[in-house]
Symmetry: C2
Subunit: 200 residues, 2 copies
């Protein structure tokens, strides 16, 4: 029978994975994300290159070090949200849930800024976000019925974060959290009340 959680094997895998993400992030910060090779990361984590690719499909995944638990929690938040809570409010809570953790472990600033400097990283982040998005949309559709609106709410929440981070780079005086809040507010109430379709 398979040993559940506490096995040595399990722990070693977690260790290896942690060592790889740690090394990847550190080296990426030191040398710039595009100047790190998989060879270096593997060597720093003391495993073979081949093993690296057993853990991550792409170099970028190691640097991003995505936490699968975040998606789980987000889905849970959507499923257990009280009826009276509006959908975008739920999304706001999800965003802040993740944001809080990233801030508390101090990896947001390091990793976040890194991501914004590298198109390739950003790209892979978005790529892996696509699947999350799909799952979140499905969960939200389950709740509110309208699939178009559900998808728009989920993707808009994502866009709000991205826009906030980008804008924060050009105007560092405004806090990212405030920008996220402002973006959510705009999206909720409408980004253009004067819109008129079909003035062709």
């Amino acid at each position: 029978m398979k040993q559940a959680e506490g096995g040595l094997r399990e722990r070693k895998k977690l260790q290896t994975r942690a060592a790889l993400t740690e090394a990847a992030l550190r080296l990426a910060l030191e040398k710039g994300p595009d100047n790190v090779t998989v060879d270096e990361i593997a060597e720093a984590a003391d495993v073979s290159v081949r093993t690296f690719f057993n853990y991550f499909p792409h170099k970028e995944h190691a640097i991003l070090g995505r936490n699968p638990a975040h998606l789980e929690r987000a889905l849970e938040l959507i499923r257990t949200a009280p009826d009276e809570q509006s959908p975008l409010t739920t999304m706001w809570m999800i965003v802040h849930d993740v944001l809080q953790e990233l801030l508390s472990e101090g990896s947001l600033t390091r990793r976040g800024e890194l991501i914004m400097t590298s198109p390739s990283l950003l790209f892979h982040l978005m790529l892996s976000s696509m699947d999350d998005e799909r799952q979140l949309s499905e969960a939200l559709t389950e709740r509110i019925g309208d699939p178009l609106r559900a998808k728009l709410i989920v993707t808009s929440a994502g866009t709000a974060c991205r826009v906030a981070v980008e804008l924060h780079k050009t105007t560092p005086d405004s806090a990212p959290g405030d920008l996220v809040d402002a973006a959510f507010q705009l999206l909720a109430q409408g980004i253009d009340p004067d819109y008129q379709k079909g003035q062709v």
Copy 2:
């Protein structure tokens, strides 16, 4: 002195570029976008692999065959929009401008569906869209002042298109154009009037 436009050299470059995108798209459709190699594309277009990379930085760019003229026209539309036209309305016109051309040349369905099947293609598209987005946001900020709102409007328009295409795949009975319109409408008026920030 440099010959302006009609030179043989100029025409040959256009020809080569066209041959490459044509071959890339055709092969991608035949064999699936991830099973095409640059070798094949180059051979089909009767040029060397090295020449391929003189024209496109990535394989995906050839398949996407992005038309630089689209961005130019979009920027022009933003700059010359009448004062009374609301910003999202302008974005709607841009979207339909491109849509119309893609439909008329018949490449939307072929290329569009292809793109949606390949994460790699999708993300090269988004990646190159990021730069477009930046330029469009700047132009729109110029016009309406508020950079956050401008960025949100531009990115939301992009998201609307993406969501519409995705949704069209699962519910093919609704036309993509209608879905785009519905998405724009929702975004304009607000995706969640009951949103309340900070119910933590």
